[in-house]
Amino acid sequence: MNRNGYLRNIKDTCFTVLDGMAVTLSYLVRRPTTIQYPDRMAVRVQDTLPFRYRGILEVDLEICTGCLACERACPIDCIVIDAEKDKQTREMVLTRFDIDMAKCMYCGLCSEPCPTGAIHHTPEFEGADYSLESLVRRFVKEPVKAYKLKKGGEDDPEILEFLDRGMRYVEEFASPEAAPPAPKAAPKGPAA
């Protein structure tokens, strides 16, 4: 190493170290970024999350049509739905709607094909529990009638509330409706 290199090393060390320390010192008068989760917050984190946030799954059985689209879409089969036709009234009855939240990977593929937005992600994310069994969410307590989309629109205000929220959720997903006509080479698979 020549003499200049030797002296330059000393000079560089002094100045770069000083400059680095100036940056760190300047942080003493800046506001810390971190927040005091969970107890010392002005607003709950859940309330600040965006609408699209994919938290723990929730099912509004009031508007579930029992179409099984979510069960089919789930890549890890963590949704199990049992729906059977009532022989007398000829209506679909849901006897079971279970979601294994331990297995769920929060991908959102189930809520995408849902026609009414019955299955949707909530902003709730604090799901820790002591056993795997308790992470299974069983929505059907006793068999319920599946919802049927009415031709002239929903009139029951109680269900309308759910449906409004559900449809807003569904509309959030991009749809190819306005898309240009599908290109010629598109595969001809049977659409579900």
């Binding site: 320390m21 940056v23 942080y27 005091q36």
Partner: protein, 399 residues
């Protein structure tokens, strides 16, 4: 200390007890007070302060839950470590493994014997004071090497060997940087060194002449290396050696290593203050002995704790050097300059035995200029990040 005991004996407090025994007993009591109340408190609080200072520099908040503002966090940590299981690895050399932390703690506690907290607050003003400190702090390396070897873990071993090489090497620039001060004062006693400086900055030895100014930086740098602090924290380099020589330690023994590390930090600050920054010297504001002692103690404490903060600040900023660079910094840069400082100071003492006041004022100005440049940079960084416009200015140290 001795005078105080003499007066007690004169008042007849210790009838029939030999004078030397009274001295020894008094010394012991005082030492215990110093150690328990002061050292543990300082080392403990330092861990808390370090975490908070670090946190703010990293735009975090830091510990703020235990006690007001989290001030008792260090106590909670210590209690937790006391309650933890004291593990000795099966393959370890158990005796050495158990002994090592005591030697480390011994090394740093002994150093407190000669730390001058005030004009009369010193356990023993040894006439070889400063050499005594360099000698006993070297005990730490024995303990670290022991810990590294006895853990029977390769990471620990590498850490221990690194520590040995590092501390032994950096003893040399440290020792050499003390020499200019010894040349100026002609004494090794800590109180002797302080008494030759005044309360005004231009009388401090750091501003005495350009050589002591340089010696100050060399001393601080190599003292950091001796204390295994960033950027020289190779022995416990957590991203390379997991935790170096403390990898296998748990509980109380782990605590002891870190007690020593943070205690050492304070010793570095105290020695720097003694040698270069006028020690406990205060302006003649009062003649009351008690008030004076308190002021002296506070002055000394603030000065020395400032350097503890600087060490934290450095640790928050700098990356770690590599082991070969560590050696080349020591032998190629620090040692030659330390020698040059001795020669320069020797010439200086011959030319101006009583010191050159003009140069002293100039050196103070140089120091101020450095600080001014530095704060300009701080302001620049704040401006560039548009801290004020973004409303991110936050001056309170509280969380």
């Amino acid at each position: 200390m001795q005078g105080f005991l003499d007066s007690l004996i004169a008042q007849g407090y210790f009838p029939g007890i030999p004078r030397n025994l009274v001295y020894a007993g008094g010394m012991l009591v005082f030492t215990v007070i110093v150690v328990v109340v002061f050292v543990f408190l300082v080392a403990g609080v330092t861990t808390f302060v370090e975490r908070r200072v670090w946190a703010r520099m990293q735009s975090r908040i830091g510990p703020n839950r235990v006690g007001p503002q989290g001030m008792l966090q260090w106590l909670a940590d210590a209690i937790k470590l006391f309650l933890k299981e004291d593990l000795v690895p099966a393959q370890a050399d158990a005796r050495l493994f158990r002994l090592a932390p005591y030697i480390v703690v011994l090394g740093f506690l002994t150093a407190f014997i000669v730390i001058p907290f005030g004009s009369r607050l010193i356990i023993a003003d040894l006439n070889v004071g400063i050499v005594f400190i360099t000698a006993v702090t070297s005990l730490v390396v024995v303990g670290i090497l022991m810990a590294g070897w006895s853990s029977n873990n390769k990471w620990s071993l590498i850490g221990g060997i690194r520590a040995a090489a590092q501390i032994v090497s950096y003893e040399i620039p440290t020792g050499l940087s003390i020499m200019p001060i010894v040349l100026l004062t002609g004494t090794l006693s800590m109180q002797g060194i302080i008494s030759q400086q005044g309360w005004a900055p231009h009388t401090w030895f750091v501003f005495n002449n350009p050589f002591t100014f340089a010696a100050f930086f060399i001393f601080f740098t190599s003292a950091l290396a001796e204390g295994n602090r960033t950027p020289f924290d190779l022995p416990e380099a957590d991203t390379e050696l997991v935790a170096g020589f403390v990898t296998e330690y748990t509980g109380v023994r782990y605590l002891m290593f870190f007690l020593a590390e943070w205690g050492n930090l304070y010793i570095i600050g105290a020695v720097v203050t003694t040698l270069f920054l006028g020690g406990w010297q205060i302006p003649p504001v009062t003649s009351g002995p008690v008030l004076r002692a308190v002021l002296e103690f506070l002055t000394f404490f603030v000065k020395s704790y400032f350097w503890v903060l600087v060490a934290m600040w450095i640790r928050a900023t700098l990356p770690r050097v590599r082991v070969d660079q560590l050696m080349s910094v020591c032998w190629k840069y620090l040692v030659p300059f330390a020698f040059a400082n001795i020669l320069g100071t020797a010439v200086w003492v011959v030319l101006w035995p009583a010191g050159n006041v003009i140069v002293q004022y100039l050196m103070v100005l140089a120091g101020l200029a450095l600080a001014w440049y530095f704060f300009r940079r701080v302001a620049f960084h704040l401006r560039r990040a548009r801290v004020r416009e973004r409303g991110e200015l936050y001056l309170s140290p509280l969380a």
